[in-house]
């Protein structure tokens, strides 16, 4: 019986990928905290995880000109704009730095939790391979 490393890690690596994407989006929000007209965005983890599990291959369209837009199948599907907490900030920007910072922190913690789970799996496998850690 062959040992499948894919099955060992399970869906954890997909979860980590989605968390990375979410951190990317939030870091973009924080970088644009003073950009006029910028609207804060976020990833719906549920939807993103579903599409990550269903479409493994990232199908993207061929670009023949530098001005072409990249038409990936699942690139923008899960991205949504955040519902603003205050009606008008004066310059059309609705990034709430506190909210974004907390979201970034939370995603980072969850990412680390995911890492620890994977680490535990590796440790278990190591133990099994070295016949009980001797």
């Amino acid at each position: 019986m062959a040992i499948s490393l894919d099955k060992l890690v399970g869906t954890h690596h997909q979860a980590l990928q989605v968390r990375t994407q979410r951190m990317e989006v939030i870091s973009g929000n924080l970088a644009n905290a003073n950009t006029p007209g910028y609207k804060a965005r976020d990833i719906d983890f549920n939807k993103a995880m579903k599409s990550a599990q269903s479409t493994q291959a990232n199908s993207s369209m061929v670009k023949t000109h530098e001005k072409h837009m990249s038409g990936g199948m699942r690139s923008q599907a899960e991205l949504d704009f955040r519902i603003p907490t205050q009606p008008d900030t004066g310059d059309g920007n609705n990034v709430d730095v506190q909210v974004e910072r907390n979201a970034f922190l939370e995603t980072g913690m969850r990412y680390q939790a995911g890492l620890m789970l994977i680490d535990g799996k590796f440790k278990g496998m190591k133990k099994a391979l070295s016949s009980g850690g001797q």
Partner: protein
């Protein structure tokens, strides 16, 4: 690699805020400089920020960095003062002072330094997480 994109994005944020701090420093430093004509007078400068959407769609990233489109000079009227004793006064005895609002600039400076700090913290958190990834399965 996703984690490097985060570093890039917070890097663009830091660069943009540095430009803002730079213009603020220049504005405050020149707040009291005088000149003898309307054209030669220093005018308050402010950077224009815009989301780097083109680059984001090219690199297939989900996060969007920030671009500094340019620095524009303020269109507010200058302060004209009657000071015939000033060596910089024109033939009618007027000197021209910049349209820099010191209070506004100080508030801008605080906002820029806070935003810079936020971007640094994002990069720092990313660095720590990345280190954890590299240590995966080693201990």
């Amino acid at each position: 690699m996703g984690l490097f994109n985060i570093m890039n994005i917070s890097g663009t944020g830091m660069a943009a805020e540095t430009v803002r701090l730079n213009t603020t420093a220049s504005n405050i430093a020149n707040a009291n400089s005088v000149s003898s004509s309307y054209e030669d007078t220093y005018k308050a400068r402010h950077p224009v920020f815009a989301a780097a959407l083109d680059q984001a769609s090219q690199d297939q990233t989900k996060g969007v960095g920030v671009n500094v489109l340019g620095v524009v000079e303020s269109q507010k009227p200058l302060q004209v003062e009657y000071a015939p004793g000033n060596p910089m006064a024109d033939e009618n005895g007027y000197i021209y002072k910049p349209n820099v609002n010191i209070v506004e600039e100080m508030a801008d400076m605080m906002s820029a330094s806070k935003a810079y700090e936020t971007n640094v913290q994002v990069a720092d958190t990313t660095k720590r997480i990345f280190r954890r990834v590299l240590q995966l399965g080693q201990r």
